[in-house]
Amino acid sequence: MTAIEKFREFWPRDQVFDFLIPDTPPDLDLTHGIILYLEGITVSFGGFKAVNDLNLYIGDGELRCIIGPNGAGKTTIMDIITGKTRPDSGSAWFGQQINLLKMNEPEIARAGIGRKFQKPTVFESHTVHDNLELAMVGNKQVWPTLTARLNTAQQDRIEAVLTTIGLKEKIRARAGSLSHGQKQWLEIGMLLMQRPKLLLVDEPVAGMTQQETERTAELLVSLAGTHSVVVVEHDMDFVRSIARKVTVLHQGSVLAEGRMDEVQNNPAVIEVYLGEAQCSA
């Protein structure tokens, strides 16, 4: 090993000198109509392969549902896309130009990927309003953040999102005091504020009532087209109501992919995931 290599090893590989990082990532290049390429991704945790040689392509403006048994690796995939987990091998590209594996979380977020977590995570000690403000798209470097002031357009945008997520009268409430479902909504709201190109939503309707579920479905469907959306959900009614193309994961790789009705009748999918009742429903 040369000295330089040794030196590199000492340095965490996911870190780059700050001044070397361009402030804005290269523009999103969507010439092939595909916004996300995951190729040959493998992740293992102490010998256990959570994701196994996975290939997944998400089209521009597509609404894709990912389903699969518990532990199939859905959340792990989102972790990889957003930079939280590094895969052992494989490649992940955002458009033609942006190599996700070379970026850290904030860079990926700035490049235009937003994420909602499986367990709702919001800034508990901030008000609903401040949560949305913080998430708002804009220059997120230190100095601009220091001097940033809300202009009317931005204020209106926050109002609009508040209406969408139905937390208008909770605008001054601490996010920590919201109920589980309300936090889910708030997190979706934060995602909207971020105006990402690609939204990753992990179990958005967990803990929501039927009607709220329907509203979420509407919202996601309306986002599709202008945004690309990847939804992970176990609620089949919900999936059916929004799904165009569905990917089924099993043991870390794709088991089936296709339209909802195709997938639904795929015996393998029924076997590992849906169960008899669902397909008859």
Partner: protein
Amino acid sequence: MTAFPKILQNDRAGTVLIAVLLLAGVLVPLLNLSTGEASPLHVSTYTMTLLGKYLCYALLAIAVDMAWGYLGILSLGHGAFFALGGYAMGMYLMRQIGTRGVYGHPILPDFMVFLNWKALPWFWHGFNWFGFALLMVILVPGALACIFGWLAFRSRVTGVYLSIMTQALTYALMLAFFRNEMGFGGNNGLTDFKDILGFSLQSDFTRAGLFVASALALAAGYLACRYITGSRLGRLCTAIRDQEDRARFIGYRVEDAKLWIFTFSAILAGIAGALYVPQVGIINPTEFAPLASIEIVIWVAVGGRATLYGAVIGALMINYAKSVLTAAFPDAWLFGLGALFVLVTIFLPDGVAGLLKQTRFFGKRVPS
């Protein structure tokens, strides 16, 4: 000037504090210099110096509150930045002694003469200029915080790990400064200062000047901190404190924000140290002691975290209590101080500031 009211818009306690500071900055020196000792209004030099010292502590406490209260970095090593600022100022003051030292050496400070140093070490050069010393007051703590923070934050050292690392930092510095080979006077530190900018440190006039400087520094420091906490960056800090990961996923480079605020806080601490040294007349490695840094955190906690003015109140209150108790109950004051800490934690979870917030005057309007 127009920015002032805006910064303090929602901060009544802060407004009161700034007003009191400005008032004190005028009145105390006035009463000290213009009234005779017999006058009932007279403020003795002892009191003025003491107050000046408290103000420096208050500035230090604000610095810690910035890092801990708002950013969630429990720094158990802020004493190091304070002391470094103090040493930078102390070195300037040492160089001002000139030939008035006991050995009459024109360049070398006394402790170097009698330990047989032949020449001034390189890092002592330049300190005979006040401007350079001031620059170092800001640069040295700032640079140390920057390097330390850069290393720690980018490796995502957080929580108690970070706290203990700051402690290790100040502990290592303490041991280093204790070493006589370091060229900072070892255990005895730097003392026996004569004058600052040509004014004798023993004159009441100079002391009054230092007091005013401390009051102004505290006021400016407070406003700067309030400006930050009132901005979106301030809210980002609290967000980072509570949910670091989430902040990353919505696109903030958490490391950068932490680094800036931490460095800023260290610089404040350094300035506090620089003002402190000429007023107390000594700087010595025990300022680096881990326990000293823990004490700062305690001022903030007693005053109330994440309020800024709480930090000021805490620092003033505890140090005043210490001054009074060490004279009134020299044998038992530790019981009192210890009990105070215990009781405040249990009964005033938000510190004294929490108590204030419950009053009508100060309540509600303070930004969260």
